[in-house]
Symmetry: C2
Subunit: 238 residues, 2 copies
């Protein structure tokens, strides 16, 4: 792939390693049944995710102060819930539902793939989640990391260059020695602009069966394109 | 011990988990034999360590810009080597010897102790080393962390409060929910001033047999006092 040796792999987490949509819908259905609340859970989850993307864009643009993912998700949920058939949510319920983002299931290949890749490379998440959230997700899914790069370390969200360059610096690597592994082309394009290597992982079920949000990139657009992390491990000689 | 539950343990690393003195002397002896250089290795190692303490005090006082442990150790070594019978060291040798700080052996109880404690608590190093160094040390010794708190994340060295409070914040904890585990009373006193819990671990061989640098604290001065990390695991119900 390259004259420069990759020493570390950074992983987008929510989407690339974890099935946020399926996981949240399942948790909300259980919660709704326990509280006798029926709502459009898939609709709410899709809107909640989109609202987070809009919230972090405001932070990046300097239109609002830094706030971590929990804070932003809580605010979004309070705003969105009534539109999807839910009653007004009080503080404890908002907190409980927001923390569902800390309990997302891994895709079937994620844990074994990271474990294999860790035998030869330094591995760390680089996520718009915060460190405490990423620790919880790692313990819940059984992923072992060498370090945890949450957005709160940099007080910047991806795709701000401070995140990619900051993570490479903390790993003691040149940007070209680090590869970002992600299922979102926009994330990878931003990393490539900072000089990182890129691996696109296809996650066709991220937004639900048959729903595409970002088009599949052309062959050759990124350094690697794989169907899952076990394929990546094989491509990286692990 | 407390009405407030401890959720996370932070570990001083160089000294508390790792035998820096014994490890460096052994590496330098091997290096010296290979390069036909005989020098006062214990004397050099003791002076090197002390010079690092003085260097970080200058960073804390704002007398010099931030520099990570590798940079500071490299400068110290260049200055100290001639005093201990070594020839002038050129760039590659300085780099090779500085990286000996990334290859320190663990005390016999460190790996098993952290592993036991991790079954119930979030565990992370809080070190004046940097993230890349701490990753290397963890992989070399076989310690698994939930996150890695290097001084470069905060661009402050212990005992600056930014390190203790910054680490607690990244872990999503109140200071009182975090316990620092360290063999240096000065480190623990600074953590206690920030509201953290404290556990003193006795490491009587840190500075070599029979040499004491900081006096053993009085019983009751810290929240816990243990002889090793397996004792701590037992005291913490792991």
């Amino acid at each position: 792939m390259a004259m420069i040796t990759v020493r570390a792999l950074l992983f987008d987490t929510v989407g690339t390693l974890l099935d946020w949509r399926g996981g949240l819908i399942a948790q909300l259905q259980t919660w709704g049944a326990a509280h006798d609340i029926a709502a459009d859970w898939p609709g709410l989850v899709d809107a909640w995710r989109l609202d987070f993307v809009l919230s972090i864009a405001k932070v990046s643009a300097g239109e609002r102060d830094w706030a971590n993912q929990d804070q932003l998700q809580r605010e979004s949920l309070a705003r969105l819930a009534p539109q999807f058939g839910m009653p007004e949510l009080h503080r404890d319920a908002l907190e409980e539902l927001t923390l569902m983002w800390h309990e997302l299931p891994a895709w079937p290949d994620s844990v074994a793939g990271v474990e294999k890749l860790r035998t030869r490379y330094i591995v760390a998440p680089l996520s718009n989640g915060h460190v405490a959230m990423l620790i919880h997700l790692a313990r819940a899914t059984g992923i072992t990391w060498d370090a945890v790069m949450g957005a709160d370390i940099f007080r910047h969200y991806k795709p701000d260059p401070e995140t990619y360059l900051g993570a490479a610096a903390l790993l003691g690597c040149e940007p070209a020695e680090v590869m970002l592994v992600a299922c979102h082309p926009s994330d990878l394009d931003a990393a490539a602009k900072c000089g990182l290597r890129t691996c696109y992982v296809s996650r066709p079920l991220e937004y639900g069966q048959g729903r595409v949000v970002e088009a599949t990139p052309d062959a050759g657009h990124f350094d690697l394109m794989v169907g899952n992390l076990l394929e990546l491990a094989e491509a990286m000689d692990c």
